[in-house]
Symmetry: C4
Subunit: 268 residues, 4 copies
């Protein structure tokens, strides 16, 4: 394969600057969406019974496209191994395989977990989203406060372990709190304000403890929110680090050309 | 129709500065509320059986008023087509039609979807709310952070697709996770901390995964909140309304003496 | 009654500066709590059957105290009518009456709504809380953003009316969406992420619409939070309005005595 | 015991600066996790039936380690009484006892509440977390706004008492609102947006009141969030760590040149 063709292919597949590159991304996005919808519909018994054949054909078309894309991706990069063993390389391979497994081992292909691998393609959409600036901003703010959020969630889990055990002792197996793991699961359901209602306390003291857990959950949701908000605020205010060389004023506006305090030209 | 009368009519219907214009808005608001309540009550079988006749009369009175209003609106504007095909023009027409459909095709009029069209009138209340400054402020803040919120919600949906498929594989049809769309629906119910409890996981691993989804949902609600809060804060701190008389730049810092764009002295 | 005694009484009952005034407030708080717990316990059939007599005696003691307090309050103020027809005056009277109604009309006294009037006393606790500075701060922030919150809640209710009607048309009476008011109730339950699960959508399209409502509710909770947070922030930063008379620097710390910029004494 | 050995032991157990001290902390953490998982698994009937013997052996190993640790802790501190009667001293003793109670009183040891004492060890993890800076920051922010949060939660509880009583009067025992405490429990479940669905209103007016409670709960969650966020923001902006050398005042403004308290030049 000529180096020029490979370079051109790389441009189309990996970049989004040229019209061909943009078209490729849009087609890819559409095919991923079609593929995801197909997998979903196939899982609905009534639809699979009527349109099973059509869904199978669509899935084969999509699979063939993804196979060609996978080969093209390997062919166009200089170090194929780096792509193959990257996160998206593995995703691309795994999400293409199910149909071939279906062909080679017809019985095995009906296994749910193998067919569902095709849904891994949605991760690709996340990659396409990286072109959207806003998503990077969100991820930056989340990533900056990730240690604090992790510490908070860890504290929440310890709280759930203690509260769950307490509820197990108070309510006991008769009320559905059959063992400690189930009780902890119930405490998480309650503290996060989800509240399925499949297990509910029946003793007065159990209901009192539940009320305490709920009010706790209602109150401490403020913590992650506060953390992320404070991070967003800092990111949006700390934009310009320029300091005026004449009067030493700082906190200039983002694209200021002149000092707001003394009128000095900041770019000189 | 004399131009003067048309101008007067326009003033009453479209503006709220004159006493007549204000009265018109209040009467309109009241009639919309009466209409909405009537539609609601008609849907309650026990009330419809007893007060059906009275509700029908009220609805006819309201419909006649709205018909007159619709004609007056067309008559008072210079370009009727612009109003007729605008969002509120279509709303006004559609919400007035049901009673006439009822008269012309008695059988058809009993169709729910046609009768419910009358409820579209509540949109008019939103239009009347535009006079309230606070609602514009809210909409501005929401609209400014709408791209970030959309990116966030998109990420949430992808997360729900992956988690929902995983739950479908783990739990299977016996626990109510009968197909992937239902499992995704359940994941949305759980992640948003709604938690109906119509479908609940029964396997230990399914319950563990649910706990993960819940804690995720409890944690990432911080993201939209943080976004909107940061936007509100920015809006409330950017108070300087000075505009540079040389280059017309605005959004100056609070105590700026010189224009950040051209260096002009703002206080002169 | 001597004017001196009345002044003393007023000091004890209405103020909390003297030891006697403080003691009075603590005793009042305790009696209110005892009264509230008594009313609650009386409503529990199993407890009322065993301890009915004791609860009755306690309630009489509390009622007599509140009667004396009510008379003392009227006696100690200069304009009794102002107290009698004030919010707390009405609360005090209504919460004292039930026991006497019980005595005069033994049959009527068993009516729930009359007995429950005694619980109105908890409002008094709110009044005692006014001495706590933090509660005033909270109320100020809430009160300042009350118009925006009202506009937001109004928008939420209109959204619920439209979505509820839509769900009624989609799901229909078979799924529990028996009429429009019930459907709107269900939409509020879902949008606020409460999710009882007593009514749940069963059609695929209904479940899709529910997912939309849930994600909406999950997203727009950011609005009131953002409003209140922005208000709190403003309140906590805008504390000192002093401006230095030497160098014109402002934004001084809350209890600053000297200018942070030039060292001038601010209180001179 | 030689003073040197005791000092060394103290270094390993109470500090995390030396390699031996770090290793001790990691081993302790692992043993706590093993112990917690063991207690959980023992409560699951199906697992206890098959692996009861193995779990018993693991629990004995862990108990022996914790016994040695407890003795070592007492031996290595200068004032053993201070440790023994401290929060963590009591936790350490109580969480070690259950197995010995099991040995001495075989019948009693099967009591849930005694076996569950072993779970108290998770508190130790919280102590190990103190080395993580982020957790201190979180606790500081929470602790600073604790009075405001307490006042808020107190207001919420009073609201729940009043609303719960109202719901009890409206719905009555037929709908599951059997007494006032249960109705208040239901109000807390609803206001905190948990929504189990074990008790749900059935009368139209009861459903209307529920909608009011839900919208209230949806709105006022903004308050604790706003409080904690404002606190986080203040903590992250108050960065100046200068302390005046004349009057020891701290928390100076970011670019303060003079002490706000005594007017001293801070830069000298």
């Amino acid at each position: 394969m000529s180096g020029n063709f490979r370079k051109k292919l790389h441009e189309i597949i990996y970049e989004a600057d040229t019209p061909a590159g943009k078209l490729f991304d849009v087609v890819l996005l559409l095919l991923i969406l079609i593929s995801v919808v197909t997998v979903m519909l196939e899982s609905v018994a009534s639809i699979a019974a009527v349109y099973g054949e059509e869904l199978n054909i669509i899935e084969w078309i999509v699979t063939i496209f993804f196979t060609i894309e996978y080969i093209a991706r390997i062919a166009s990069v200089k170090k194929p191994a780096a792509y193959i063993f990257s996160f998206y390389g593995v995703i691309d391979l795994l999400s293409t395989l199910p149909k071939y497994v279906d062909l080679l081992f017809p019985g095995l292909g009906f296994l749910l977990s193998i067919r569902a691998l095709r849904l891994l393609r949605v991760f690709r959409i996340l990659k396409l989203m990286h072109f959207v600036g806003a998503s990077n901003q969100l991820l930056t703010a989340l990533s900056k406060s990730r240690i604090k959020i992790a510490v908070f969630l860890f504290g929440v889990i310890i709280l759930c372990v203690i509260m769950g055990t307490l509820m197990y002792i108070i309510e006991g197996p008769e009320s559905g709190f059959v063992n400690i793991p189930i009780s902890i699961y119930w405490t998480i359901v309650t503290l996060t304000t989800v509240g399925f209602g499949d297990i509910t306390p029946v003793t007065p003291f159990g209901q009192f403890m539940s009320a305490v857990i709920m009010i706790l959950g209602y109150g401490i949701i403020a913590v992650p929110t506060g953390l992320v908000t404070a991070q967003f605020m800092q990111d949006s205010t700390q934009k310009s680090t320029q300091v005026c060389r004449v009067c030493n004023a700082d906190h200039h506006k983002d694209k200021a050309k002149y000092c707001y305090n003394c009128g000095n030209n900041l770019n000189k």
